[in-house]
Symmetry: C2
Subunit: 233 residues, 2 copies
DNA sequence: GTGCCAGGGTGGTCCGACCACTAATGGGTG
DNA sequence: CACCCATTAGTGGTCGGACCACCCTGGCAC
């Protein structure tokens, strides 16, 4: 924080910190339009190039968004905005990390499902039931399964939880886990799990929901663990 | 993906996607050094400015890191690298979001503490005990409390869990929650909670650890909820 | 062999120009 | 008067080049 530190800190990073500070301080609120890149650059005493890099970083973080020709705006700053970056984890993660991610899901999903059982309204549960039919109907459609779990988490009404959960189970991650699911009777077992979870939600039974979700995640983890030991291309 | 789409996609974003693709395809592996910014820019047919913005975005995502004068490198791609971004959530979040974050922690911490009780080795538990003394000794030092909880999560051996947990409890978040803790006998109560958690770890008792962690997080949540209803400056 | 240091190469920063796009302006038209 | 549309100022997007700060290597002196 001293001048000496500032001297050695890249100007771009300093600009990032400064803009974040102004947002945290309320100078810029959600939805507000920022000064032009040129003005901001002049204000902070940096070149427009460096200012653009700083803005680019904050855009990547989900804090800002830019509209070509219109200006740069602060996002709604909702957790979903800020945690979108997260998906890169699933994009590049491999092997052991997959198990770690699954272990975190094993902690979150049961609690989330239980919470959903207590909070979800009729409409949400009905929607979840619809997704369940999609999974049954077509073949294991990854996106349908993804939507099923996502809808349950969304039913908790906790946007932050949704964002975290999304990050831990992006489409590409799901796809990687599911690739190979056709084998054995696993698909049928998972289908049973899903129905059991749905029944618990219908019964508004948090304990049953927690148990069903736990069993489901553990089944997936067991399968994945076995699959990783005899990896295929 | 068509030419028409590419025509309307900003070159910077295209560069980001391309580099991510090359990493995902294994062209660039963890720890590898990338071609120079100038070479990359020429390779992808963009200016160095745009290439730098693309690199800046990937640095922000935790995929790349640059060393002044030495080159740009792919990170180890460990979850901790990729989830660091995350902390911005805690930096700019307010009010209701704070409660949402705490609710997620209420799901994670008990499970994490229980896991730590089962997995932690003697050295790790001893280290946690040391941190506990720091909290007792000095005044409520935010950083010491942060370190205490972080050490517990780290003892689970799950790097992904550590990264997620860190994101949900960055220093600034902790500071905001703790600001005002001096009041009442709350500090003493929290101290009791910490000791109870440590005892459970020493006893290698996952159930007791889970219970102690649950009680602790719920106490904080209850306090925060009451505090938000009568907000101060 | 050891230590120093000078050079080349790299990322960091700045500048100025032009392009692409948006939105407000204002005149024309019904 | 109300509506539409071309104009135009202003904004972000891209480019090219220049220079600075820093690292690393290799050759030199000791």
């Amino acid at each position: 924080m001293t001048d000496l530190d500032a001297r050695r800190t890249p100007v771009t990073q300093r600009a990032v910190e400064e803009i974040k500070r102004r947002i945290a301080d309320g100078d810029f609120g959600p939805g507000d339009r920022l000064p032009t890149e040129r003005d901001l650059a002049a204000d902070l005493g940096v070149s427009r190039s460096s200012m653009r890099e700083a803005i680019r970083a904050l855009i990547t973080l989900g804090v800002l968004e830019s509209r070509h020709g219109a200006g740069v705006y602060v996002t709604a700053l909702r957790p979903a905005d800020l945690l979108e970056t997260f998906s890169v984890l699933a994009e590049v993660s491999q092997g052991a990390t997959l198990l770690e991610v699954l272990q975190v899901r094993r902690m979150l999903e049961p609690a989330a499902t239980a919470l959903a059982a207590a909070r979800a309204d009729d409409e949400q549960i009905a929607h979840i039931g619809t997704l369940l039919e999609d999974i049954d109907g077509e073949e294991g459609t990854v996106s349908a399964d993804l939507g099923f779990h996502r809808a349950i988490v969304a039913a908790t009404g906790n946007a932050t939880l949704v964002a975290v959960s999304d990050g831990l189970s992006s489409a590409s991650f799901h796809a990687r886990v599911w690739s190979g699911y056709r084998e054995a009777g696993l698909t049928a077992k998972l289908r049973e799990d899903h129905h059991r979870i749905h029944e618990a939600l219908l019964a508004r039974d948090p304990d049953a929901a927690r148990a069903a979700a736990t069993a489901h995640v553990m089944r997936v983890e067991r399968w994945l663990r076995a699959g990783l030991q005899t990896p295929a291309g």
